[in-house]
């Protein structure tokens, strides 16, 4: 059994310390050590995007990041998207637009879509599809996901203008 | 009186006859009558007194889970078909 390493980080705005083995992925740490099971494991090799989290403001597949790499980093997971008991517009639009069926890919899509809208508040359909191409969904055929991101973009635009 | 459609693979037992009319209360009785007329039918359709696993009976187009116990009182047509699952 390998020795554990102490890591200090910020997750969803709170300072968090944890111990992990050198071989543990950030996804394992989030899910198994910290109980943040909203990030999902679909492939464990960076192909499906279900484990997408924000790492220092950039969306990453948390299965491809080691726990020890996040020393001093800021992380946002799906659990941190709703604030003060209210859903974020991207979450609300996913519900109103029926953008989920089984829901296993949804956390990853929400994190990736929120990241896109923060970087590019007015994405074209093509830009949405390009930016979400690292997230696989097998249920919806993507139509309602893309439309819900479009709806969230409009809604965020109204609230900021 | 219901018309029993003889599965194509069992027509070798019925000299090519494709369907017969039978007066029976249920599918099991209909099979017994079929077997009396075309010996060997029951052995091909049933395991013991039940329909063979993988077979189902369709009565007037409706798949029945009752097998040999399915009632034929108002039935017009009976077919023996493979079971259908789903995804």
């Amino acid at each position: 059994m390998s020795k554990k390493i102490h890591v200090t980080t910020t997750i969803n705005g709170e300072p968090i310390e944890f111990l992990c083995e050198a071989r543990h992925s950030l996804l394992e740490v989030l899910r198994d050590s910290l109980g943040l099971t909203g990030s999902k494991e679909g492939c464990n090799n960076g192909n499906c995007g279900a484990c997408t989290v924000m790492l220092n403001g950039v969306p990453v597949d948390s299965c491809l990041v080691l726990g020890v790499e996040v020393e001093g980093a800021t992380i946002e997971t799906v659990e941190g998207i709703a604030q003060n008991g209210e859903l974020h517009p991207i979450q609300q639009c996913f519900l109103e637009g029926a953008a989920l069926q089984c829901g296993i890919c949804t956390p990853g899509f929400l994190v990736a879509a929120k990241a896109l809208l923060e970087k590019n508040p007015h994405p074209s359909e093509e830009e949405i599809r390009f930016n979400l191409a690292g997230n696989l969904c097998r249920c919806t055929g993507y139509d309602k996901i893309v439309r819900s991101v479009q709806a969230a973009a409009s809604q965020l635009q109204e609230t900021t203008s | 009186m219901a018309t029993i459609f003889i599965p194509a693979q069992l027509k070798e037992l019925s000299s090519g006859i494709g369907h017969v009319d039978v007066a029976a209360d249920n599918v099991g009785e209909a099979i017994r009558q079929l077997d009396a007329r075309f010996p060997g039918m029951k052995q091909r359709l049933c395991a013991g007194d039940e329909l063979k696993p993988g077979l189902q009976v369709a009565i007037d187009g409706k798949m029945s889970s009752r097998g040999v116990l399915a009632k034929l009182d108002v039935a017009r047509e009976v077919h023996f078909l493979p079971v259908i699952g789903g995804g």
Partner: protein
Amino acid sequence: MKAATSDEYKILGTRPIRHDGADKVTGKAKYGADVQFANLAHGKILRSPHAHARIKSIDTSAAEKVPGVFAVITANDFPDPQDKIADLGEGPVTLSHLGSNVMARGKVLYKGHAVAAVAATSTHVAEQALNLIQVDYEILEPVLWVLDAMAEDAPLLHENVFTDSMGEASEKPSNIEKHLHFEKGDIEQGFAEADIVIEREFKTASVHQGYIEPHVATADWNEDGQLRIWTSTQGSFTVRHQTAELVGIPLSRVTVYPCEIGGGFGGKIAVYLQPVAALLSRKSGRPVKLVMQRDEVFEGTGPTPGSFVRVKLGAKNDGTLTAGKAWIAFDAGAFPGGPIGPGCMCVFSCYDLPHATVDGYNVCNNKPKTQAYRAPGSTHVAYATENVLDEIAGELDLDPLDLRLKNAVKEGSRRVDGPVYPEIGCVEVLEAVKNSEHWNAPLEGPYRGRGLALGFWFNCGLKSSATANVNTDGTVTLIEGSTDIGGSRTSLAMQLAETLGLTAEEIHPQVADTDSVGYTDVTGGSRVTFATGLAVCKAGEDIQKQMRQQAAVLWDCDANEIEISGSTFSRNGNSISFQELAAKQLQLGEPIVGRATVAPDCSTNGFGAHIADVEVDPETGKTTVLRYTAIQDAGKAIHPSYVEGQMQGGAVQGIGWALNEEYFFGDAGDMKNASFLDYRMPTCLDVPMIETIIVEVPNPDHPFGVRGVGETPIVPPPAAITIAIHNATGVYMRELPASPPRLWKALQEA
């Protein structure tokens, strides 16, 4: 129950937010892998590196000595099920085959076949232990391609499998486990009457259901002998039954807690992990969790069959079909069973053929045991029939839509397998195509083409149960047993709300475990909204009956004198609302609990047509889908967004099947692309918006007219896409997938 026209409905046809929605967008929803227990052990499975081999010996002693290892098991830890056959809800299963698929007994029959399992303090420790298990294999020659496996001299998978021809077994053991034959009319006369006859052969590759959530199970074999299982499944009752049989304990000692499920599409009905986790738990004295990795999902769980299909059609010059002949061979994979029956029954299910024969063969080969995948068997055969039909339209210079309309089945048409259709919506679907903007829009430009294809799936009835508790605040808690893969909690709650005159939000649906709800078959066969919906409607009527009796107590009259309209109970000018009556229930009598169980003996017969516009890049062979429309008869769309979602999702799975998805096997029978990077499912960049047109021809067997919806949408896409490719390039793609290298080669050879 009376059928109502659409505008009479208050709830049906609206789009409320799903009841489990907030949990699923915040990460709170508990999926199978999210369950945690104190003292939880983590399991891993050792899998065969060979596609076909005899297991001479397994030595687990070194693995057992690894610190942190709690238990190691092999097939020897399972009881021998002998020759027992069990009906597991969707058809019979030979338990020795099911058990040997869960853990190989004597032989491994595909690469990835489970041979041993370990439970340890962590998956990492379990993996270390797996590496120390010594398995001595005698490697045998594998056989992969279905026609090769049918050859007389093919390597034989099972000494005890014989060809069943409707109750008659072959003399010698064979990989061909089943031969089916159907006939209608006089095939020779039919072809003699034809002015044109076309016969073509088609091949399809093995494709996987591709759910994003891997298989997972946690089992806790308690000290009192009770076994509890938390798992991702399409059917908690069938998991209970299968697991009880395979570990050799009575059904009642197993409780299955269905977690949220991350997709299934037919692939999460058979057990893989649940019995293994159970025995590891018994041996280790701890709860044990098993989670598959993605390569294990591809290599160890059910793809749909690869297939070879030959279809011959004859037609008169005016397009009237005179005869059809089909010869179908499907992979069974490692063990008998599979969708050859429905494949045979679907090959001509859209067209009224006076004369036809169909032969079907189900063939064991060294691939994972095939499992159901959305309209199992129908996609393979529709691909063949629709392409031949399109070629006939071309040869006769007829409009492909008119040709289909001319021959489409309708109420009273006799199917090739015998039965006569009741009221169906095939013609209405084609009429909707004819009237659609897409079908009438011009498509111009080089290497562009449009394809149209029709598809059918039966949809099942099976069994469902529901209980509904009326709360004193006027809401209703609905308890049902259909695991919710796509919003079914809400489509069921809406049917109860409509029945009771409430809002969807006033119903609180819960998916219960196997001890908390009556027997319910799988979420599959497009049956939940129809059959569990039927149970829910009847439970609602049961509530109304009880509330009418309570109103009769209130007004001191006979219950039959009380009328119900929406949520209002009234008599002689007196009236009381559902909510008011619910609040008085404990004063007026017994608590109000509605219940119903159903076993509808019917298929709900779903027809759909898809229109695909594609552009082919002649330099690379890559096909781009420019525009796509799915049209389908839903009977009655309860929640239109979820009906559209099924149509869109099925269409895109079918587009993947058509253009990219396939298992690549090496010469040793080893899958070469067992990852999402190399098994190329569509991403959102690969597809356009999927337009939908919902047709509503009510199903006479449901009070609201509901038909199953989920499966039909995967049937037309491979045909629609390949027909569109033909219209773009002049090349017919008779092998799936029509991937860039394959299409590029075909263009070079044309």
